[in-house]
């Protein structure tokens, strides 16, 4: 990379509106497109969860858009399936990685763009098509599928006889996920290639911001995991359309029809799905961990505590994530001896997660904390991560999972640690990077109101779900009317629903703040947070090729805050040593 500093090429953005904003090759535009796609998906996903909560607390409530205004059991299952699929794939997988990663990875490593701009554009548009295909399932005969986001075979494999939505709707779901896999694979190649080859002079691996590490390891996971899901989707599609028997066993008698399939294995789908599915959990949370470390360090005005331990623990989580998929299958009928292996490995993966938590606390120790909205969300993340992580210790033990599996306890657990925690990281990222993306500040007061309502709200929603789990409340029940021991839980349902409405309403502060600030926000400096990484060294708005052809040289690690002897409490990564002002 030695030639970087010497040559100057400056390239202009393309002139046409379509080339500039729609079919753009610029990673910043593509990142923004991903974020907007995720924002649309999360909006639909939240509306669906509000529908669920209305239905669960007040089963006879009339809701617009449903036949006779009533949510039928199959409608409820359609809603949970779409909620899960949208949130996991199009929000948690897309926004922290493809959205913020696309926007900031090249800038943070001193590159002009992603390594393969065309592939990048193709990834986005394939994701877009995939989303359209998924949403279109709501408008076909039978409607959206009812088999949940995990689409367990044979329910997902035998077609319409298994229930409404299991016909064309389920087929569209499989096609959508297969397209999404393709898009994610291309995106992963791009992230890896960019990080490996396009780092600027002086940016050794151990000087990379932890955000970059998060995106890099996530891309490695995506690269190895999505190919497996793609293969599984192809086999499922063949079972559905071509009468093969990969997942459908002999002598299946569904709705009084004796099927012609023979010898397939329902557990095979689960193995393939969770081989993807567990790394997928980390695909959602590793970029979030990177973002949180970054934001905590900035507003604590301190270096990240144990940077190297952070890098190693990220890598360890990534590596171990491929060996723990069986913990989703403790009660599936899998070999009970392998369950023990998976159990121990799962508990071991808790260790690097605990290291991260300790280091986040260590970063706050002796800090000088600035309570910006971004920082509040980062602190909230740590609290959620502790809570959600500890409930995982229960689920990792097969003897305890025996009771808790597929109850509300699991819902509470994964929403806190994977869903809400990752969403908190996205909010932190939004408040943190907004000034760089749009040249204006988001309103801090609105941001704080948003934080307090959301932080209290999500705990009020998801903590009680653990208690429902203790009481043995199974998930994915459209109604509690058939099980007597569930009757007394109705007040808890109502409490959760009210908390959910308040939390959903709190998001309006974010929407308003986001769109209002794009036009009306206070104009932002180039480096409003006095941060050290390279996105704050380039001007705002960021030039088309990021550095205007003058590539920076990196002289130090990413989190040089409050260095003794320096005049400022931050030293940018690319500031030459002789330019650092002495105190």
């Amino acid at each position: 990379m030695s030639s970087h500093a010497s040559t100057v090429h400056h390239s202009e953005a393309p002139k046409g509106w379509i080339r500039h904003y729609i079919f753009s090759l610029d990673h910043k535009i593509i990142g923004t497109q991903y974020i907007l796609l995720g924002l649309s998906a999360v909006t639909i996903g939240v509306i669906l969860s509000v529908i669920m909560r209305i239905h669960l607390a007040w089963p006879n409530a009339h809701i617009w858009g449903f036949a006779n205004g009533v949510v039928s059991p199959e409608d409820y299952l359609r809603v949970i399936t779409m909620h899960g699929t949208l949130m996991v794939f199009f929000v948690l997988t897309t926004v922290p990685q493809s959205g913020f990663g696309n926007y900031f990875l090249p800038i943070q490593i001193g590159a002009p763009d992603m390594a393969f701009p065309r592939l990048n554009m193709l990834s986005f548009w394939l994701t877009f098509v995939s989303l359209l295909v998924l949403l279109s399932s709501a408008f076909v005969r039978g409607g959206s599928p009812i088999s949940g986001w995990t689409a367990y075979a044979p329910l997902s494999a035998v077609g319409e006889i298994a229930g409404p939505g299991q016909g064309l709707g389920q087929t569209l779901w499989v096609v959508s996920i297969a397209l999404f896999c393709g898009a994610s694979l291309m995106s992963a190649i791009n992230f890896l290639g960019t990080t490996i080859d396009l780092r600027t002079k002086g940016l050794s691996l151990m000087r990379m911001p932890l955000t970059v590490w998060g995106w890099f390891i996530t891309a490695s996971l995506a690269l190895l995991a999505f190919g497996v899901l793609l293969a599984a989707c192809i086999l499922l599609l063949l079972d559905r359309l071509a009468m093969t028997s990969f997942f459908i066993p002999s002598n299946s008698d569904v709705s009084g029809v004796l099927l012609n399939h023979a010898g397939g294995s329902p557990l095979l789908w689960q193995h393939l799905f969770w081989f993807f599915g567990h790394p997928e959990v980390y695909i959602a949370i590793l970029p979030a961990m990177g973002i949180i470390s970054h934001v905590l360090s900035t507003f604590a005005r301190k270096p990240v505590f144990g940077y190297k331990a952070m890098v190693y623990s990220l890598s360890a989580i990534g590596f171990l994530s491929f060996m723990v998929w069986g913990h989703h299958m403790f009660i599936s009928g899998m070999n009970p001896y392998s369950a023990l292996t998976f159990s121990i490995l799962t508990l071991v993966i808790g260790v690097p997660s605990a290291i991260k938590t300790f280091n986040w606390l260590g970063t706050l120790w002796g800090a000088r904390i600035h309570f910006t909205a971004a920082m509040l969300f980062a602190i909230g993340f740590v609290s959620l991560f502790v809570t959600g992580g500890l409930s995982g210790i229960f689920l990792a033990q097969p003897a305890l999972d025996l009771y808790l599996h597929d109850t509300y306890y699991v819902i509470g657990h994964f929403h806190l640690i994977m869903g809400v925690a990752a969403i908190f990281a996205m909010f932190a990222a939004s408040y943190y990077w907004f000034p760089k993306m749009f040249g204006r500040m988001m309103n801090e007061t609105l941001g704080k109101i948003h934080f307090w309502m959301t932080f209290v709200g999500v705990y009020c929603i998801f903590m009680p779900m653990h208690y429902l789990g203790y009481a043995g409340d199974p998930r994915r029940y459209a109604s509690i009317e058939s099980v007597h021991y569930l009757f007394r839980l109705q007040p808890v349902y109502m409490f959760i629903s009210i908390a959910a409405f308040v939390t959903a309403a709190a998001q309006l502060f974010f929407y308003f703040n986001f769109f209002w600030s794009i036009k009306r926000g206070k104009p932002a400096d180039q480096n409003p947070w006095r941060a050290t990484t390279m996105e704050w060294s380039v001007s705002t708005p960021v030039p088309h090729d990021n550095f205007g052809g003058h590539y920076p040289t990196v002289y130090r690690g990413p989190y040089e805050y409050s260095v003794p002897g320096a005049a400022d409490d931050f030293i940018p990564q690319d500031l030459a040593p002789e330019q650092v002002a002495k105190a």
Binding site: I146, P154, V254, L258, P266, L267, R301, K308, S343, T387
Partner: protein, 280 residues
């Protein structure tokens, strides 16, 4: 923003955060101690073992939860911006090693302890004299089959499955062993006797769950999965389905009646007599 910001503003969020986290910790501890929504009492010896493991895990994770959340609240309050410079610390190697080792020992230790209870459930077969009952999940009911006086389950022919003619399992009428099989919609078990359930499914995956037994097991089409236990308490308990199986998933429900030995024998005789009547 940066050091220009006055120190005054930052006490409010620091205090608020500390309060919210304190409320979280207090309420969580309260609901776990008061057991407002809780496990029903276990009715098998293995169930009590599982509860023991639950207890240990609650204590360990509870301590970590309280300490970590309180530490967060304290750090946030203590180190709010009060105008002094942040401490420049890059990390502490010894501390990293200590807490890595500590968590490794605690987590893996819990896992090893839990392995014991799991082994009780799944390793080692049932008592040789165990009462065998076949459990079949089908959208959206449970069927239970007893071998009858001959002690043998009859053959099943999938072509004969027809719920409308009273043969939901497809018992093969050509097999003499199937003639005396008892098929019911609720599960009746004698107290104090070893039981072995043979779990299967006719169509999609279901999951057999009885809270008080501490037993949950998916029923997978194409597989027969055995589960064994001994019940120690007479009573009625609810059986639910825990794996999404279609639109009627939520009402896939049956009852487990645990009877005293004599009641169970009476029930069995009544069923056999009924069966004999129907056979004529």
């Amino acid at each position: 923003m940066g050091s220009r910001k006055s120190c005054a503003g930052s006490a409010v969020p620091a205090v608020l955060l500390a309060i919210v986290i304190l409320i979280l910790v207090a309420s969580t501890v309260y609901f776990h101690v008061a057991k407002t929504w809780w496990f029903p009492a276990a009715i098998t010896p293995v169930g009590s073992q599982i509860d023991q493991q639950f207890f240990v895990t609650f204590i360990v994770t509870g301590i970590v939860f309280v300490l970590a959340q309180l530490a967060l609240a304290w750090l946030v309050f203590r180190y709010r911006d009060q105008g002094r410079k942040a401490r420049f610390v890059r990390g502490n190697h010894t501390l990293e090693v200590v807490w890595t080792t500590a968590t490794l020992i605690i987590f893996v230790g819990l896992g090893v302890m839990a392995a014991h209870a799991w082994g009780e459930v799944h390793f080692g077969g049932p008592d040789p004299g165990a009462l065998q009952v076949e459990v079949t999940g089908v959208q959206f009911v449970w069927n239970f089959r007893y071998p009858g006086p001959d002690g043998r389950f009859g053959r099943i022919n999938p072509k004969d499955i027809d719920a409308s003619t009273g043969n939901p399992l497809g018992l093969d009428s050509n097999d003499p062993a199937s003639k005396d099989d008892i098929v019911t919609g609720d599960l009746y078990l004698p107290v104090g006797r070893p039981i072995e359930l043979m779990l299967r499914s006719q169509d999609v995956i279901h999951s057999f769950f009885v809270r008080e037994l501490r037993v949950k097991q998916d029923t997978v089409p194409g597989l027969v999965i055995p589960v064994h236990f001994t019940v120690t308490k007479v009573g009625d308990y609810e059986i639910t389905c825990n794996q999404l199986c279609g639109l009627g998933h939520y009402h896939m429900h049956a009852t487990l009646h645990v009877l005293s030995d004599s009641d169970f024998q009476q029930w069995e005789q009544k069923q056999e007599a009924q069966n004999a009547q129907n056979g004529q």
